[in-house]
Amino acid sequence: MLEFLVQRALISVVTLCVISMIVFTGVRMIPGDPARVMAGTDADAAGLEAVREKYGLTDPIPLQYLRWAALAVQGDLGESIRTREAVVRTVATKLPITIELAALSLIVAVGIAIPAGVLAAVRRNTIWDVVTSGASLCGVSIPNFWLGIMLILFFSVRLGWLPASGFVPIWESPLANLQRMLMPAFVLGTALAAVLMRQTRNSMIEVMSADYIRTAYSKGLAGRVVVFRHAIRNSLIPVITILGLQMGALISGAVVTEQIFVVPGFGRLIVEAVFTRDYPLVQGVVLITASSYVLINLLVDVSYSLLNPRIRIRSSAGDA
């Protein structure tokens, strides 16, 4: 068990190192002179040279990388060119908004996907299965930014029930916050629900055909009891892994959703940083995104092995 965790953690560290190199090189491949961007357009040759000296841009690239990585490990990702605010600070103010959005959409997704997936599996090959599977297929196929636009068109423009865009911090007015988060969370949640539903259905079908379920039935337990007490628990284990892998999709989705509903979160920050050519911000934001993906999936793997003892046993048996 411990060996498995250590091995998994080491792989994550290696991945994080490679990620930081990719990000660092990537940002340096963006056309344009960073000294010119930092000094401003009216800087003369001497001014540019001073900036290069100050930020060590004349040093060899590997040295620059090591310096940057050393600072990054300490939580210093430089400062935004545009606002002069520390990148970490900017991210810290934007991230809670996106986390709220992600949490709400997760509630939407799980709330739709798990019951629907279980229903489709238990009532397999009936009209319920066809309807839920069809809905899931539509959910995968619908471009979520278009779904967002259609929701605005219907609920804001046509009916006037919900504000089309904007953001109110939750501590100022929880109701207004929720009103504005409802549509973005739904848009983001349905995309996730579609994927989760498929996974829930498949793994539920697999579990339902297991011997212990047949035993439970033959003991005379009611179908309801078998499904809820015996089957669901085990069938949700692979769903958790999928949830971890979907974090990337959730972040991608947040970029688009926040753009449509003008939510000032992390996703919108990425697009803003790209458009204003704020390289330190782009660099920091992409690094944080990729690193959190790695860490979340490490956590998922760990929780997976805690939930499913077979994996622990198999891995330690394999190592021995």
């Binding site: 990719i22 963006i30 471009p143 636009i149 458009f275 995104t289 993906y293």
Partner: protein, 296 residues
Amino acid sequence: MTPSASATAAGPMPADRPAGPWLRAWRRARGRPASAAGALIVLLFVATALAAPWIATVDPIQGDWKQIRKAPTWAHPFGTDDLGRDTYSRVIWGARISMQAGVFSILLAIAVGVPIGLVAGFYRGALDQVIMRLTDAWLAFPFLILAIGLVTIMGPSLTNATIAIGLGATPTYIRLTRGLVLAIAAEDYVHGARALGAGDLRLMTRHVLPNIVSSLLVQATISIPIAIIAEAILSFLGLGVQPPAPSWGTMLNTAQQFLETAPWMAWWPGIAIFSLTLSFNLAGDGLRDLLDPRDY
């Protein structure tokens, strides 16, 4: 999914009389009408993309200042946009851009990913470890973030968006290929071929590759709709196809500003994306059942 589908999907069955390929295809299609319809609609979109100049006779770029944001009429069945351009024409021409981005990006992903995965899975060892760690790191960047990053480096255009999406999809193909190769390279017939003196290259191209083609094809039907949506998103954000070219994503971007006065501008490009991706997914589901007879 249905019992009849799994029966027809079980591959070539010994029939009394050998059925021709067309008859067999028809029998299979009848078992899965939704998938057959999906495949048909995909083909229709392909035809639309190829025949755009003949289907959409109104210029998709040239605006008419007297026809700004007009509701659908007989002359303009999908209405007109903020510059007085015919939305129908633009949606038709948009099929070309979407298809281009969707298909070519995945071809790129296959062209890059499959050889890398093949080498990693075939030789294993240290090289495999290096490739897989790089792939892990690559996969850690959410697809869209990676595409946005690459477009920032290369500059926004259809070609660059296609490349960015393709490179974003590449790690999936590396992983898939490697996994399949690991399984197939262990088969007896591969050992047999090696014992008969087949070299590495011959083993890879003649004995391993043909056996993973069907899985790659299935993955492509999953990836292409994702790539089509990704192109629309990049264009929607202003990082893909540049105006005035008619991309469904850029059209939706403009449409969002006129939701109150010209809602039709937002309907059609979205309906086009949705029906294309849905058809691809339906067709892909059918293909998966045909090639992989496990009943899921």
